[in-house]
């Protein structure tokens, strides 16, 4: 059975922990955590990931900048990106999707929604 890898980029330890718990429900998914956009880019440079789950509001480098950088990276330009944010407006959603995000989830997150989104993007049953 194929094994997948996921990079969670989130500055809040609590949200990271919650996402790790949620994504542990996806079989064969290995999760790596990053504290912010810069840490995320560092991890993306050293390994290949099948999916990225990122917050928007983060110190040092926010999620939208990270999406831009990932989309210009030849290795990860096609990697699915899930945005997780407190911003629930249609414009924010549109902006994230225009920058190249594949899905947009608003906080407070519902674990089943995160799981379903990740499974759908990875095409896992």
């Amino acid at each position: 059975m194929a094994e997948y890898s996921c990079l969670i980029v989130e500055d809040s330890p609590m949200m990271r922990q919650l996402l790790v718990f949620a994504l542990a429900r996806v079989r064969n998914l290995r999760v790596t955590e990053a504290d912010d956009g810069v840490d995320g880019l560092r991890k993306l440079a050293s390994a290949r990931y099948d999916i990225i789950v990122t917050d928007i509001n983060m110190p040092i480098m926010d999620g939208l900048k990270l999406v831009k950088r990932v989309r210009s990276d030849p290795i990860h330009k096609d990697t699915p990106i899930v945005i997780i944010t407190t911003e629930g407006s249609q414009e924010d959603r549109q902006r994230a999707l225009q920058l190249g995000a594949n899905a947009y989830i608003t906080k407070p997150i519902q674990a089943p929604q995160v799981i379903a989104t990740v499974k759908e993007l990875l095409k896992i049953d």
């Binding site: 809040s12 330890p13 609590m14 949200m15 922990q17 919650l18 718990f21 949620a22 429900r25 407190t86 629930g88 407006s89 608003t106 906080k107 407070p108 519902q110 674990a111 089943p112 799981i115």
Partner: protein, 282 residues
């Protein structure tokens, strides 16, 4: 014969009249016999034909009977298959019902798991800091990230027990927050009753005067403050079961975590010596 010869004229070969009659009669008889034979042969031929027809008919009937038997066999097979199909459909429906029940149960378990994960993470975070600022930051994070609160404030009762004093807030300018008298205020009512007050309306529309939820904060069964969630994020338009569980958890752990962090800070973050735990055996 001698008479015959006598009756014939002399020197003639022509038969006498008697012989002629005899011949004619014979010929007549022969002709009739031949006709009868012909008739008989025709009849035999007809009977042969009839027999062939009957044999053909018989073969046809036999084939038809065989075909009918095959049809009967097929019909009985169809009946059996229909019965089998009905049985299979019945089983399919029952398995489908079990399956959908199972799917529903799995969804419930997943949802329950997600709720427990939320509570575990919240509890874990509340107790993962021993600085009052760290605990406050985590309380705020639970409110913002897990509950979806947008504007909120945490109040603690003053030593006199007359006012609730704001100690941490988010989404509301500090200038709008003042100590709230315990007597005659909604926040004070919650402090006195010790029971969370959750508004029935849309929590996104809550105000400072009519908060969406007020949660009492207890330390050792004594209510020492409240958290007022004035309003929630736009996408959070109702409180779910897990939110009520989070309110309970915050009520029981937030103030305790804050108090223990404060006490730890007052001792210059020194851990108590072993002797402090020696008399704990029960």
């Amino acid at each position: 014969m001698a008479e015959d010869r006598k009756s014939r004229p002399a020197g003639s070969d022509a038969p006498g009249p008697d012989l002629r009659d005899e011949r004619d009669q014979f010929l007549k008889k022969f002709t009739r016999g031949a006709r009868l034979t012909e008739d008989f042969l025709r009849e035999v031929e007809e009977l042969h034909n009839r027999l062939r027809d009957l044999e053909r008919e018989n073969a046809g009937l036999r084939a038809k009977v065989q075909a009918d038997e095959a049809v009967r066999e097929l019909l009985s097979k169809i009946d059996l298959l229909e019965q089998e199909k009905r049985e299979l459909l019945k089983r399919f429906h029952s398995v489908e019902a079990v399956n959908s029940e199972f799917t529903l149960r799995v969804q419930e378990v997943e949802s329950e798991f997600a709720n427990l994960a939320n509570l575990f993470v919240a509890s874990n975070q509340l107790h993962s800091s021993l600085s009052p600022r760290g605990v406050t930051r985590r309380i705020k994070e639970v409110l913002a990230q897990l509950v979806g609160a947008e504007r909120y404030c945490m109040y603690l009762a003053n030593a006199e027990g007359t006012e609730l004093v704001p100690i941490a807030h988010e989404g509301v300018p500090g200038s709008e927050l003042a100590p709230v008298p315990i007597q005659g205020s909604r926040l004070g009512e919650t402090l006195c009753s010790g029971a969370a007050a959750v508004s029935d309306g849309d929590p996104t529309q809550g105000t400072l005067a009519a908060p969406a939820a007020v949660i009492p904060l207890s330390v050792d069964e004594k209510v020492v403050g409240v958290i007022a969630i004035f309003s929630t994020l736009a996408q959070k338009n109702r409180f779910d079961t897990v939110d009520f569980e989070l309110f309970k958890l915050l009520g029981q752990h937030a103030a305790a975590a804050l108090v223990s962090a404060s006490l730890f800070a007052t001792t210059d973050r020194k851990l108590p010596g072993l002797e402090a735990f020696l008399d704990l055996s029960v």
